[in-house]
């Protein structure tokens, strides 16, 4: 870490390194005013230098050969994350499995970009002997590892972290997923079998249509009968199963007529084969089974895809490991803490119990809980709510209420519940399509019975098959999910993840839209609002030099602000001193500088003094996002009703709200989570847009919850729609796509209806025979597919422009 020498960029003057790029991340050097040099390589930051050296040491430098030009590398911030909790038994039990004396564990890896990352991930066994195998699923960013039974997980995670990735342990395949996987495989096999048999049966059928006669006709009939058996007794099982359950549950589904037709058709055909009657339906039946299976398989994939996108690493918050206070600093998992226990609440950790500080003082970020943007300085005796985050110093906390009584746990349970009970089956919810299906079913069964008594079963069967093929779910059943799939995939590409298509469809319909302030309309952290007073080189340098030494959130803001303004020298500071909750001071070239909070004012103001003389006042506030106003006005123009709910102070809320274009009566401030939820209840049906714990309840309360900002896993569970980037522009995109989706769905349903209106009578009256139907149906489906695809592409091209 340390060999890197810090060079101030003006030290390098306008040397070649000004234009040079970092040897690790390929980013320009001197951007943050500094360049790290070690040996002949140059880096933009210490982190990059570390990774580069590490890869070199491990003989993994080919990483740089593989790296695509311009592909980013993992973030390489220095601050070490502590993975020691991974070694804890509870974690191991919950998240890993032992097979044949080896431990299987899966990580979700943030920061997987290109082939180089893939290569690096799968080199682990060569770098760490305890890693027996490593296998990355590239697009899911899931790394599967086989480890020595007693290989400390933390070391693996740490190594990954050193490479610049963010490993998150995830539960390797719970029962549910396993089952899904199995289902998937079986379905695929069914599809393959059906495809194979249908294909060959078709070929034999062709020779029929080509007029083969006599012996060979029978030969082919028998052959196709043989080939049909797997379709009937293997590929068609799901139809039989489903219709059995449907009948038991007493509601209708397409499977019932399908089974009806299948049994009759195959029965009749087999009978005909034996009696040498020319009417054989194997070709129709088999192709029909194949098509339906195919369309259903496609549906399954669509759902999985949507799920996969949304189903990222699950939160570990409740599994945080803490160290108990006491002579033998025992490490325990936070769930096991009991009231009265005292433990170290570490910097950067999130609290998962309710408690109070017994020793130490630190800046606590409560936005998680209350949406309060300003970090609070808290000291002995003050109450800490679960979900709050320690920003600065380690402190000692005593437990009042254990994890299972904490709010965070309560939320987690609730939300987990909601989430698991989500209904993913797209299309099913489509009333019209079910209606048509029902109609088709009834008509066909009726017709069959008619023909049965009319003694023209063969004819009837033919028309029923035609009917079923022609109205096979492809058009309606596929049309809707197709659109949703397009919409969801395309949105996902832009970091907007929609859990289920139904939400997308409702989105277009619901009028009331409720916004959370902090982190949604605003950046969610204090920023430098204005700088009143001197801003000379001298001042900037002093502030920069002092604040880089401080860990206070404001300090970071100031440093960034100054770095943005370009090159800046670091002066060395004597007798630096940080007064927690107040500010910092120190000597630079014999002058005493102090940067301290103005304790009088209600706003957060910081005063810069040189030898006691006030040079400048810095006003901090959580300011709104650039596009906020535009968005709100746009939404209003779309005829939506917008509201602003926040736990923040009235004054601040009004200020921000108005500047975002809300009217006074649309703003509700100082609301606790419960109240928010109630409000949502009043406004129902409503769309809630927000982030943070405090919103989770509201998010799950609302018909549609849209969660912002990738940080908090709980949101993903709470919300129905989840945005990875915190740009508001995404929302506009989302709403317009939702709108598009609805209109397109309607259009397809329209097409479907018209099509069926024409097709059904034709089929019933025998105007279309099954083979024609089998040709027409895919054609129509393709047409719908194409039209949907193009209209959407148009939309997204537009969106990008």
């Amino acid at each position: 870490m340390k060999e890197g020498i810090l060079i101030t960029s003006d030290g390098k003057g306008d040397g070649p390194n000004q234009v040079a790029i970092c040897d690790h991340c390929r980013g320009p050097l001197g951007l943050q005013g500094k360049t790290v040099a070690c040996k002949e390589n140059l880096f933009c930051c210490q982190g990059c230098a570390t990774v580069f050296k590490l890869l070199g040491k491990l003989d993994l430098s080919q990483y740089y050969l593989l790296k695509e030009e311009g592909a980013p590398v993992g973030e390489t911030d220095q601050f070490q994350q502590n993975y020691s909790y991974l070694n804890n038994q509870e974690i191991k039990d919950q998240y890993t499995q032992i097979k044949e004396g080896r431990r299987f564990v899966q990580f979700y890896i943030e920061g997987i970009h290109c082939i180089a990352c893939l290569w690096l991930m799968e080199r682990l066994p060569e770098v760490m002997p305890q890693v027996l195998q490593s296998h990355l699923i590239f697009d899911q960013k899931v790394l599967s590892l086989w480890l020595d039974k007693d290989c400390p997980l933390s070391e693996v995670a740490h190594l990954l972290h050193q490479f610049g990735y963010r490993p998150k342990i995830i539960e390797s395949l719970d029962e549910g997923k396993k089952y899904k996987k199995k289902e998937n495989k079986v379905h695929l096999t069914r599809l393959a079998v059906a495809g194979f048999c249908a294909g060959n049966i078709m070929l034999m059928a062709i020779s029929h249509y080509a007029g083969v006669m006599g012996f060979w006709r029978h030969y082919f009939n028998w052959a196709s009968l043989l080939l049909f058996l797997p379709i009937l007794f293997y590929a068609s099982i799901p139809f039989f199963k489903n219709s059995y359950y449907d009948i038991k549950k007493g509601h209708f589904s397409l499977d019932i007529p399908i089974v009806f037709a299948l049994t009759l058709g195959s029965g009749l055909s087999i009978y005909h084969v034996i009696t040498k009657n020319p009417l054989i339906y194997f070709d129709t039946l088999s192709i029909f089974v194949f098509l339906i299976l195919a369309s259903r398989y496609y549906l399954m994939r669509v759902q999985e895809y949507a799920e996969q996108l949304n189903n990222q690493a699950n939160p570990l918050i409740q599994n945080e490991i803490v160290t108990l206070v006491g002579d033998q600093k025992k490490e325990v998992i936070i769930q096991s803490l009991l009231p009265g226990d005292q433990f170290y609440f570490m910097k950067g950790h999130t609290l998962a119990i309710e408690g109070h500080i017994v020793a130490g003082q630190a800046y606590i970020d409560n936005s998680f809980m209350t949406g309060e943007s300003r970090p609070l300085f808290m000291e002995e005796g003050e109450i800490l709510h679960s979900g709050c985050r320690n920003l600065t110093k380690d402190i000692i906390v005593e437990v009042d209420r254990p994890f299972d009584q904490s709010q965070i746990h309560h939320f987690y349970q609730k939300l987990k519940g909601d989430w698991l009970s989500e209904n993913y089956y797209l299309g099913k919810s489509e009333k019209i399509s079910t209606l048509i299906l029902a109609a088709v079913g009834i008509v066909s069964i009726a017709a069959l019975i008619f023909h049965l008594f009319n003694g023209t079963l063969g004819l009837g069967l033919n028309s029923i098959l035609a009917l079923l093929v022609i109205t096979c779910p492809c058009v309606i059943g596929l049309g809707t999910p197709l659109i949703l799939n397009f919409a969801m995939t395309n949105l996902a590409k832009q970091g907007i993840i929609v859990k289920s298509g139904n939400h997308l469809r409702q989105l277009g319909k619901i009028q009331n839209i409720v916004f959370d302030k902090t982190g949604t309309l605003t950046h969610g952290r204090p920023l430098l609002k204005k700088w009143v007073g001197e801003q000379t080189e001298d001042v900037l340098q002093a502030v920069y030099s002092l604040e880089t030494l401080s860990s206070h959130p404001y300090a970071r803001v100031m440093v960034q602000y100054i770095e943005k303004r370009g090159d800046i020298r670091l002066n060395d500071v004597q007798s630096f001193h940080e007064k927690l909750g107040i500010g910092v001071q120190g000597m630079i070239d014999g002058n005493l500088w102090s940067i301290e909070k103005d304790t009088e004012s209600v706003e957060s103001v910081v005063c810069i003094k040189k030898n006691g003389v006030l040079l400048a006042q810095l006003f901090f506030a959580d300011i709104q996002k650039e596009s906020a106003l535009e968005l709100i006005t746009w939404l209003k123009s779309q005829g939506k009703k917008v509201f602003l709910l926040t736990g923040d102070k009235e004054k601040c809320a009004l200020e921000i709200g108005k500047s975002c274009g809300f009217k006074e009566d649309e703003i509700f401030a100082e609301m606790m989570p419960q109240e928010k939820a109630w409000k949502i209840g009043e406004l129902s049906p409503a769309i809630m847009i927000g982030d943070g714990m405090n919103d989770s309840l509201a998010l799950s309360q609302a018909e549609i919850g849209i969660a912002f900002n990738g940080g908090i896993d709980l949101n993903k569970k709470a919300a129905d729609i989840f945005m990875q980037e915190s740009q508001l522009s995404g929302l506009k995109e989302l709403f317009s796509v939702a709108h598009q989706t609805n209109s397109l769905t309607l259009r397809n349903i329209g097409i479907g209806l018209v099509y069926n209106m024409i097709a059904i009578p034709l089929a019933i009256t025998g105007g279309i025979d099954p083979l024609k139907a089998a040709i027409i149906m895919p054609v129509i489906s393709l047409f719908i597919l194409a039209s949907t695809f193009f209209s959407f592409n148009g939309n997204f091209k537009g969106a990008k422009r």
């Binding site: 491990l58 060569e126 060959n200 080509a210 083969v212």
Partner: protein
């Protein structure tokens, strides 16, 4: 390595020596095959190039050319690319280096001896499978060795996933084995002579089922495998859609095997079977193009690199030509198109756009990728590579275009009927040939270009190899073994470990047993042949003559299948019927009419005409491009063999009675004597009677005479 002695890792290296061997072989046989191609091209342009040499005639060199191109050139290329990619995809060394060597030397030996045997006129008379039965067995053996080596390697792989390329290789190995064995089923007469167990229409079906699938599974699937490996590698980006490639593979193998009958449109096959063949071939268009598009899209946005680098240039254009060929194929399988194109040079052009455009270019791309890697050096000259590419492409285009013109011209001339008189516009077949001879010159020079381009590659690659650093050490690799379930939730893994091997063995066995059960009884059973009372077996002498016909490869220029079309009735006579060829082991329907169809030649001309014709074709047909066959007038017929031959025929269901067989020798002699006496009147000496020409005349005069001409209006 930070931890070189990591006991969890296995250290291994690849057997690249075998790859190198196959690379050399590919270069050598590629040259031979193309040289032969050019030679026979010139023979067609000018008959004198046949040089009146027995072993140099078109009839013998053409089979040699096709076999060399397919099995020697493409074959070695496939083996080189497969062994290279397989080891890397499996992260495992070849199962057994020694087996690899057997595979290599075995294959080369077969080709070498095979080539000689074909020149000497040992031929089964089945297109693309002319090699006699001992070679067929040897080929099967070597193929099995290849299979064992392949699946052995697969079994030892350290990478769990079986990459799509490997799937294509597997399909190749299994299918080619089956096709080869079924098609080669024959009963030997002696060491170098055998009769196909199938006759006439049966044989035609089997032959083209094999013939087409040889194209499908020897010249397509393995090359698709190579495409899916080498294109991504060469351009260093993943294939456009891996999912599509998987679908491509399975949709292909599930139905591809059906292809074939479309080679027999308008023949004596039943209508429905032809339609089936047609529909099928047309439907194959989809998967083929799926693959092509996938290959091309992989190169999307990198066309500048394609322009610069020979490797990509060859691979890209190979895929393009694949697309072209797989579009043209189904087109030609449409009956109406086929009516025009079949038996013409169009087919020849189509085949070459595949073999040169797809196979040669793909191999070139693969070689240009592999050689520098194998020898750890840079390519000697990219510029030469580009020159080669353009020379080759120009040559190929000359070839294809000239064959289009030739084919369509000749095809339409055959069909042309004077509306006023209702007679043929070009009754004299030679006219239609003379008209396209200029195209033959163009084609020949196109061929020269292609050959030249290949020579450039040989030079370029050999230079590369010679300049390469000597004493290259093998690269050593490291990877964790797959010896335990490599992921938390599957139980199938070990199953698949041994699976490929077991499966291939089982399936091949199953198929062999199955086919044995199917075939053996039917071999003996008479019902395998639909009798027609007025069709009788060949006389002993005719039988001997027929073997000469096959030996000289007459079928490569003369079809024996009058198609049911007005023009053909006018030109040749009554359309052929399946029943006519029930005793033809093997069938001789042919696939190309460089000379006229001779299904009805029997009795058309006097014996003396044939006698003269064989001596000097131009003496009886001016402008004929047929070579002279002087040796037919020197070589003696081996009458000794006749009885054995008749016995074998009987075993195959030809109804020779016992005494017919006993008297076989005498009967043959008598007939020969008879014919010679007839010729003697024109001053032919009587000691001609034991020469091949007499037997051949006997056969020619017999063809198509069983079914009387009269009953047709």
């Amino acid at each position: 390595m930070s931890s070189p002695h990591n006991e969890n890792l296995e250290t291994f290296s690849y057997d690249d020596k075998i790859v190198k061997l196959f690379v050399y072989a590919t270069l050598f046989w590629g040259f031979v095959a193309m040289l032969l191609g050019v030679t026979i091209a010139f023979q067609l342009a000018d008959w004198k190039v046949n040089m009146g040499l027995e072993w140099m005639t078109f009839g013998r060199l053409r089979p040699l050319h096709t076999n060399a191109a397919i099995f020697a050139f493409a074959g070695n290329g496939i083996f080189a690319g497969t062994y290279y990619s397989l080891q890397r995809l499996c992260k495992a060394r070849l199962f057994n280096d020694f087996l690899g060597r057997i595979h290599f030397w075995g294959w080369q030996l077969i080709i070498l001896l095979g080539a000689v045997s074909l020149m000497l006129g040992f031929s089964t008379g089945k297109e693309y499978a002319e090699l006699e039965w001992p070679f067929d067995i040897a080929i099967a053996a070597v193929w099995v060795i290849f299979g064992v080596n392949f699946f052995g390697t697969l079994k030892r792989r350290r990478e769990k996933h079986i990459y799509v390329a490997i799937w294509f290789y597997i399909a190749t190995i299994l299918t080619v084995a089956v096709l080869h064995i079924v098609n080669s089923l024959a009963l030997p007469v002696d060491l170098m002579k055998s009769y196909s167990v199938f006759a006439g229409a049966q044989d035609a079906l089997i032959q083209w089922w094999y013939g087409h699938n040889a194209v499908a599974f020897f010249l397509t699937t393995p090359f698709l495998g190579l495409m899916y490996y080498f294109i991504p590698k060469a351009i260093n980006r993943p294939v456009y859609s891996y999912r599509l490639s998987i679908i491509h593979f399975w949709s292909l193998v599930f139905i591809y095997i059906w292809a074939g009958p479309h080679h027999l449109l308008y023949t004596a096959l039943p209508e429905w079977l032809q339609t089936l063949g047609m529909v099928f071939s047309v439907s194959l268009w989809a998967p083929s193009w799926g693959g092509m598009i996938n290959g091309l899209l992989t190169l999307r946005g990198a066309w500048d690199r394609v322009r610069r680098e020979p490797v990509l240039k060859f691979l890209a254009s190979a895929v393009t030509f694949y697309g072209m060929a797989t579009f043209e194929g189904p087109l030609l399988a449409i009956k109406s198109v086929n009516a025009l194109g079949h038996f013409t040079d169009w087919i020849v052009g189509h085949v070459h756009s595949g073999t040169i455009g797809w196979n040669y270019f793909m191999i070139a791309g693969v070689l240009y990728y592999m050689v520098p890697k194998l020898w750890k050096t840079q390519i000697y000259s990219e510029r030469l590579g580009n020159i080669q590419f353009w020379t080759g492409t120009i040559g190929l285009l000359l070839y294809i275009v000239s064959m289009w013109v030739a084919g369509i011209t000749q095809g339409s001339m055959w069909q042309a009927i004077d509306p006023s008189t209702g007679n043929l516009l070009y009754p004299n077949f030679v006219e239609t040939i003379v008209r396209i001879v200029p195209m033959y010159w163009v084609r020949a020079f196109g061929g020269v270009f292609v050959l030249f381009s290949f020579i450039i590659m040989i030079y370029n690659l050999m230079k590369t190899i010679v300049n390469a650093p000597k004493d290259v050490k093998e690269d050593v690799f490291q990877a964790p073994p797959l010896n335990f379930k490599s992921d938390g939730h599957d139980s199938g893994h070990r199953k698949l470990e041994g699976l490929p091997l077991i499966f291939s063995v089982l399936s091949v066995l199953a198929i062999l047993v199955g086919s044995a059960i199917e075939i053996l009884p039917s071999l003996m059973a008479d019902d395998f042949i639909e009798k027609k009372e007025d069709v009788s077996p060949y006389t002993p002498l005719e039988l001997l003559g027929r073997d000469i016909y096959i030996k000289e490869g007459c079928y490569v220029c003369h079809s024996q299948m009058v198609r049911p079309m007005v023009a053909e009735k006018l030109r040749y006579g009554k359309p052929s019927m399946a029943a006519e060829s029930v005793y033809d082991h093997p069938f001789q329907w042919g696939s190309r009419r460089i000379g006229p169809d001779i299904a009805r030649v029997g009795g058309k001309y006097p014996n003396m005409w044939h006698y003269k014709h064989m001596l000097d074709p131009r003496a009886v047909t001016p402008d004929s491009i047929m070579p002279e066959y002087p040796w037919l007038f020197k070589n003696k017929v081996n009458f000794k063999l006749i009885q054995k031959k008749m016995e074998v025929m009987t075993a195959l269901g030809v109804p020779y009675s016992a005494e017919e067989i006993d008297k076989g020798y005498e009967t043959a002699r008598e007939q020969a004597n008879e014919i010679t006496e007839g010729l003697a009147e024109f001053g032919v000496s009587m000691d001609m009677q034991d020469k091949e020409i007499i037997a051949l005349i006997a056969y020619l005069q017999r063809i198509g005479t069983d079914i009387g001409q009269e009953d047709e209006e």
